[in-house]
Assembly symmetry: C2
Homo-oligomer: 285 residues x 2
């Protein structure tokens, strides 16, 4: 049995990446794109796996985007390990790994901003002003640089995904957005690069978030009121962990409006603050 050896290209500049992805080089091959902030975990690798199945080439970006962190947020503390990421990406079958630095991504700033609409006021938007401006900025740049046929986003960042889907729809962006389900630890905690910043005690408590959401989803199916469900989820997490509830929301998805009845999809989502890290999770029903 022979092992197929494929060499992953690592590029740091936009011009080099575009050289690898222009129409001639691409030659009709489809491109799947996995944008990340690095410190890869099985969630990211699941995106790569789906991208490989659906495309001829897989491009991953690793860029901890300063534009989407607020001044009080964890940009500096955000975990980074490029060497480990590089091995994981290569083993997962990434063809081109794009690792630009901040000067490469933001050499100049003429002050143009992309402001999300009402979707950004819900869920994490309330406590992260400007966050989704920064997400939309980097996403538009990366889409323009890579020109992917399909782009892969995890459903853990459900609000981000909803806003990006709206951006693609309303501005005719040239990529298909593919939603990939949340990947969880064995105990149910949603995989996140930020999980390493939990203390051991917090890590042991963190699975209550998903437990609370699952029970909340059950209550929704049983016809309980929105208020009851949100109260239940918040109380369950507060009583079983040291985490402080940032929000618990039950909204239509992906519109993120309160009009949840007769909607195809509804999201039950929450954010919980621990000492050094804020975790998010959700269930889409």
């Amino acid at each position: 049995m022979q092992t197929e050896t494929k060499v992953m290209r690592i590029v740091h500049t936009i011009i080099e990446l575009q050289g690898l992805l222009n129409r001639n080089e691409r030659d009709g091959r489809t491109v799947g794109f996995v944008p990340t902030m690095g410190f890869l975990h099985e969630g990211h690798l699941s995106l790569v796996e789906h991208a490989r199945l659906q495309n001829d080439l897989v491009v991953m970006s690793i860029f901890v985007n300063p534009a989407q962190f607020g001044p009080e947020e964890d940009f500096e503390a955000y975990p980074r390990d490029t060497e480990r990421d590089t091995h994981l990406a290569a083993n997962a079958g990434v063809d081109i790994l794009f690792i630009p630095n901040t000067a490469e991504m933001y050499p100049q700033d003429g002050g143009i901003r992309i402001l999300p609409g009402p979707q950004a006021a819900m869920l994490c938007g309330a406590s992260r002003p400007g966050h989704f401006d920064g997400v939309l900025k980097v996403v538009l740049k990366l889409f323009n640089i890579v020109d992917p046929d399909r782009s892969y986003f995890g459903m853990k960042d459900a609000q981000q995904l909803a806003i990006i889907e709206t951006f693609v729809r309303d501005f005719n962006l040239r990529t298909v957005i593919v939603r990939i389900p949340i990947i969880r630890e064995e105990d149910g905690l949603a995989k996140s690069s930020r999980n390493v910043n939990l203390t051991p005690t917090e890590r042991a408590q963190a699975p209550v978030i998903q437990q609370a959401l699952k029970r909340g989803a059950q209550l929704f199916k049983e016809g309980h009121s929105i208020k009851e469900i949100k109260r239940f989820v918040a109380d369950y997490i507060s009583q079983n962990s040291t985490g402080v509830i940032d929000y618990v929301s039950l909204l239509a998805y992906p519109s993120l409006t309160d009009e949840i009845y007769d909607q195809a999809e509804v999201i039950l989502a929450c954010a919980v603050k621990f000492e050094k890290v804020r975790l998010i999770d959700n269930i889409i029903m």
Copy 2:
């Protein structure tokens, strides 16, 4: 001698246009794009001429974009003549004419907005709040729909051009912006679709705008102060027409800042209000 007959395709839907412009159909041919609001004049046809020389295919759009008109502005009064435009476009050598309606361009609105930076506060921006949001919105949509290699803009709308160049630079948009010089009537008035809304008296006076700018440019070369030059241009127009000065500005180009010294390019620009129409003109030095 044989006349080459080329059939121009007219399309009204995004899906049909994208069918004509996808990678297979395009087959390596370059695409030049001329976005317009119709009521074509020699200025637009000059854009087409340049686009034909530099590309294999020329796509023109005609769309009077409601998003860039304010509530008090001339959206309804904006002149339209699709039949005439169609003939002019075909004769000029346009390959594909895209004429979407408003529902086709804006079927839904998730509220995402693109806000220009400080460039939009200058020149026309002061009296047209929100105008450039609407311009950036339609430009991003059209660029994504057409995916042009090169896009052609006239220098009469110098502020629009400057903001679009900044948008392309800062967001890595996948098109090259080509600046095309202003086309003028024999008496010097810059060609504009809006000129038809001048009264005969106003039309006779309107060439004083360019005369004033030319003399102002001369004063700039002679080293007069910004204040003197602006005063001269405003007075010259006021004294020789019934037009009311909206602004006269002398700025660095394309940054549109006040720091005009040691800049490669400087713009002297003005806007003048007549009874039913507001005219703009500029000289870039």
